[in-house]
Amino acid sequence: MTRNRNMEIASVVAFLAIVFVAVPAAISASGRFDLYYTLTSVALLSIASAGVWLTFYIGRINIGQGAYALMGGYVSAILVMNYGWSFWWTLPVAGLFCAAASVLIGLPILRLRGVYFAMVTLVLTEVARLLALALPITNGAKGIVSIPLPGALSVFGLTIIPDFATLQNSRLAFYLLAVTLMVVCFGVMYRLVHSRIGKLCQSLQQNEELASSIGVNIAYLRIIAYAVSSFFGGVAGAIFAAISQSIYPSSFTVTDSVNFMLNCFLGGLGYVFGPMLGTLVLYFGWDLLFQTGEFQLLIYSGLMIVLMLVLPNGLLSLAETRKKA
């Protein structure tokens, strides 16, 4: 048991060392600064995917994460542009706004199951896009552009985070921000899944009626899980808006929602860190195939089909089969 515990700590330390020290060092050594942007996107997308994974954990197929990412992006952008808030305050507010919205939306739709929930959430993504087009405050199809970079954050006169606009390398700053949030997010997920609530969520995944009959408050748990999931989506969307300094109704569409779901599938639905690995592989796979030009989508989807045939339970199931053998 203690050996397992040590192994866990060692791998966490190794992971932190890689993302915070090794990766920036390798990038500055090789001079491929564009990789910062790629890795930042991976980190943010994996946060949103982690939210989707959590809804999978309570047995719901969520294809609506794009809606919350869009919502979070708009909340942050509007607060910064129209009300002059600091980006750092809009970040938690965007997350909480999405969580609150998801409670309102979730109350009716979380009663649905299986494909019905999947399709309603898919429709939700479309609703968010159409709303962003139709509402006056979102500025329609033109979107909100030239959002300023995040400013300085100081507590009691002590500057914790410097102004991004004054930094020489704002890409590195965004990378560190995204990766820090990713680590926190997956830390929270790990704690959640290995807590009492996590076990209760698993019981929902297997049989809701049975869980409810032995006194599990299923409606409450579903809402909590969905709200946490949407919180992640909102935060990821808000940072995306800050990085690209713009947000449009088409920033997050059905394709993005489907991709969040695919990330979870690819990594493996049974593993907390599945969404992270899935996002990394899918995003980098797509980037690497860019050189193949017009055959990019063909090869990408072909590989995905093959992967599905060989490893239908996700990439991380590979480790498990080896353990058994």
């Binding site: 739709i109 494909v115 059905v254 489907v258 017009e294 989508l297 989807s301």
Partner: protein, 288 residues
């Protein structure tokens, strides 16, 4: 007003035909076929090639669309979905496969047919204009054909041996197997039939709206809507859902014209309210 109803009926007939294929595949395999819209587009492009480019009769083109898609559907079931369903721990894994095949079809269509909007010559010329209704004849022909296909499909499911087997399969897979229904074979036929329907509608509609490689996704979403309204996996539900969506779209486009492009926003919102009251749609099985 008459015009709105006529438009609604015309839209409803083609929508219902799209939804039928999707719901059939869902009922038999519990697979939500994300690639349905792409199958529709493929069918449209085949008709475009055979009828528009090669100049063969429209009926031949429609047959070619149907048969090609049926073959593709059968192969997909046999080599992809069956394997994944057998090996996977969770049923939802088929959704990844379905989404991947949708991407794959998108890529193939883009490579083969390009990204341009394609149309074909009208199959019938002239416009019907009487009793306050204006409707081109070709729309009426396509609407009537769609209704004929729907009727044929319902009769086939109801009275033929294959249809009976498929209905048994949809009701209870294990029981059907115990009664000696060859489950694998009829799953394959069902998938082929569903894909064929998508191809046929694509072929029909290319004569009116044309086709381009980007409309697969939106068509899939519309098909999902109809299936949800009617209830997943129920033939009657798909037909009802198709006509309801067609009507709503037609009425919405007229009634909400002054508010801008909000018809689908209203439809989506109405659908979410409806589903929170009736989670299984109009006539769906509980927890489809």
């Amino acid at each position: 007003m008459e015009q709105v109803i006529a438009n609604g009926l015309y839209l409803g007939a083609q929508y219902a035909l799209i939804a039928l294929g999707l719901t059939l595949i869902f009922a038999l395999m519990n697979v939500l076929n994300f690639a349905h819209g792409q199958m529709y587009v493929l069918g449209g492009f085949i008709t475009y090639t055979v009828y528009g480019q090669l100049g063969l009769p429209f009926v031949v083109a429609l047959l070619a669309s149907g048969i090609t898609l049926a073959v593709i559907g059968a192969l997909m079931e046999k080599f992809l979905f069956r394997t994944v369903i057998r090996r996977s721990h969770r049923e939802e894994s088929t959704m990844l496969l379905a989404a991947a095949t949708a991407f794959f079809f998108d890529a193939v269509i883009l490579l083969l047919f390009g990204e341009k909007q394609r149309g074909v010559p009208k199959i019938v010329k002239g416009v019907f204009n009487d009793a306050g209704i204006i409707m081109p004849y070709d729309r009426m022909v396509v609407g009537a054909l769609a209704i004929v296909f729907i009727a044929a499909f319902v009769l086939y499911m109801q009275y033929s041996r294959v249809g009976r087997a498929m209905r048994a399969l949809a009701q209870d897979r294990v029981a059907a197997q115990l009664m000696g229904v060859r489950v694998d074979r009829y799953s394959m036929i069902g998938f082929a039939l569903g894909a064929m329907l998508a191809g046929v509608v694509g072929g029909l509609l290319v004569t009116i709206t044309g086709v381009n490689s980007g409309i697969g996704g939106p068509i899939s979403i519309k098909a999902f809507l109809m299936v949800m309204i009617g209830g997943a996996g129920v033939v009657g539900g798909a037909i009802a859902g198709g006509f309801i969506l067609g009507m709503m779209e037609s009425v919405g486009l007229t009634a909400l014209r002054e508010y801008g492009d909000v018809t689908y926003l209203v439809i989506f919102a109405a659908l979410m309210v409806f589903l929170s009251i009736r989670p299984n749609g109009l006539m769906g099985k509980p927890w489809g």
